[in-house]
């Protein structure tokens, strides 16, 4: 039983990471109807930036916040410079550009910092806190940080003028313009926030999976699964979906281990994690594309 609780707890910690990335994906999807395939690589790149600063002697938290700030600016610039001209381009062109961004982030990171795996520090000292036996210090820290970020974003969108303007611009850009909102800048800000949230996720997970240019691939896939499951047009749903997928991932592995131990038959384990995510993605897309909490889009002829 205790082991099961441990699995659920660590599933929640993983889920927190997926929730962050899923939220970043949803923020961009809701405002632009694009899927940011490069989200994972951007987060990875931000993490490398923070790592580099730490190497240069900057403290963990200053590096953390600096990286978040740089990512925010980077996201805004990417939207303004790379994506703006493509507003009316065919879907394939846009998808290709995202893949191009993905490739560039990955290859530049690989060149600048090599493909060797690096250690990434944790700011949550092992002995200080952590519900001993149930969940580790870093994992608990990840969940706490994620919840703080999510709460801040919620408050921002719900109760501030800028947040309201961004929500309006995402929901109905034409009407937003008619209300005097500079919709183009709202999109850019949305991108900046998404990049920043992604950076947080990357920096939180780097300690667990070790830092290397390919670390976000699987995580991105799980974030997609979570976002789709919760509803890719619903920020709250995406966050919930992220947590669900995190716990599910661990439960499936746990079940697989139990079966192997009990019956000596290996059905599923750690090596199938991406396949499980793929199955979730395809299942949700075919059975209920709007996810559990998303909205159905009706196409007008």
């Amino acid at each position: 039983m205790e082991q099961l609780i441990q699995q659920v707890a660590s599933g929640l910690a993983n889920g927190a990471i997926y929730a962050c990335v899923a939220l970043a994906l949803v923020m961009i999807f809701v405002s632009t109807s694009h899927i940011n395939f490069a989200q994972g690589e951007m987060a990875m790149f931000s993490t490398y930036i923070s790592w580099q600063m730490i190497q240069w002697g900057v403290g963990y938290w200053p590096a953390f916040f600096l990286a978040v700030g740089v990512s925010f600016v980077g996201g805004v610039l990417i939207e303004r410079i790379v994506l703006r001209p493509l507003h009316t381009a065919p879907v394939l062109s846009i998808v290709v550009v995202f893949i191009g961004l993905l490739a560039i982030c990955n290859s530049v990171a690989g060149t600048a910092w090599s493909y060797l795996i690096k250690e990434y520090p944790t700011p949550f000292p092992k002995d200080k806190f952590g519900l001993s036996g149930l969940i580790g210090a870093h994992q608990l820290g990840v969940v706490v940080v994620t919840l703080i970020v999510l709460t801040m974003l919620f408050v921002f969108f719900r109760y501030t003028p800028l947040g309201l303007a961004m929500r309006a611009a995402a929901q109905n850009p034409v009407s937003a313009r008619l209300a005097g909102v500079r919709v183009d800048w709202m999109l850019a800000l949305g991108w900046g926030l998404a990049a920043a949230v992604g950076a947080v996720a990357g920096m939180m997970v780097a300690h667990i999976v070790y830092l290397d240019p390919n670390m976000m691939g699987g995580i991105l896939l799980y974030a997609f699964a979570g976002a789709l499951l919760g509803g890719i047009s619903s920020p709250g749903g995406a966050v919930l979906g992220g947590f669900m997928v995190g716990v599910l991932e661990n439960l499936v592995a746990y079940l697989g281990n139990a079966i192997e131990k009990g019956f000596g038959v290996y059905i599923i384990g750690n090596g199938e994690k991406l396949t499980v995510a793929l199955i979730i993605v395809i299942t949700v897309l075919t059975l209920k594309p709007s996810g559990l909490f998303g909205r159905v889009v009706v196409k007008r002829v």
């Binding site: 003028p161 309201l164 303007a165 929901q171 034409v174 009407s175 937003a176 008619l178 909102v181 500079r182």
Partner: protein
């Protein structure tokens, strides 16, 4: 003296298709003017063209300033409020949020100024006050129209463009709204340009009228004159 809103030689395009072929008219400050015409005549396009929501050529000037080709949101900030076809309500936001977003351009949103404006809006449309926290998409058609007009009012506009405010509404509701529009025009000194398919109603409300046909102005004059014109009576008023 330059007219308040002056349009001349206005051409508009949806992609490659041309919709307006050189529309021209002028509004004086303070009045209500109506644009009449059949479906597809270009009335909605004209309003959209003024706000640069479609590709345009020609001249559009507001209060002496040329606004053709300027980004929509900056035209709005100059004092032009557009109540679009279909109301354009933010359906997933609450009524309060719909109103407050229009005050966004003025910086602070909880300020006393905004509260005063909300009070003004409720004076014209008391029904909205009860529905403040309701999701805008759940309002009735008439209430959504009221909300759309209120949003425009919250912008403190000098000129209000209204696109078919009577569309899909019951006659009594339309009457109520048109009465309130006249009040707004008189009390808050907001000039109005009204596009309507319901010619009778529009001619009753407006001081001046222009008639559009396939992207061109074919008739202009005070509404009393236009109302009695034989062609207009046959084509748009039914008698």
């Amino acid at each position: 003296m330059a007219a308040f809103l002056e349009v001349s030689g206005l051409k508009a395009y949806y992609g490659q298709t041309q919709a307006l072929y050189g529309v021209g008219f002028a509004l004086e400050q303070g009045g209500i003017t109506t644009l009449l015409g059949a479906n597809g005549a270009g009335k909605t396009t004209t309003l959209r063209a003024i706000c640069n929501m479609v590709r345009t050529e020609g001249t559009v000037s507001f209060n002496g300033q040329s606004i053709r080709g300027r980004p929509t949101e900056s035209i709005v900030r100059l004092g032009v409020a557009h109540v679009p076809e279909g109301r354009g309500t933010f359906t997933t936001l609450t009524v309060e949020e719909n109103l407050r977003i229009a005050a966004y351009t003025r910086g602070s949103m909880g300020g006393a100024e905004v509260k005063r404006d909300l009070a003004m809006v409720f004076e014209y449309f008391p029904r909205l006050k009860e529905r403040m926290q309701q999701q805008a998409g759940t309002l009735s058609g008439g209430e959504q129209q009221m909300l759309a007009v209120s949003r425009a009012l919250m912008l403190r506009p000098r000129l209000m463009l209204l696109d078919e405010p009577s569309f899909g509404l019951a006659p009594l509701v339309v009457q109520e709204i048109f009465r309130i529009l006249r009040r707004i025009n008189g009390e808050s000194k907001v000039s109005m340009l009204l596009v309507e398919q319901n010619a009778a109603l529009a001619l009753d409300l407006a001081d001046h009228a222009y008639v559009l046909e396939t992207g061109r102005v074919v008739m202009a004059g005070p509404s009393a004159v236009v109302k009695n014109d034989e062609n207009v009576r046959k084509s748009y008023l039914g008698y």
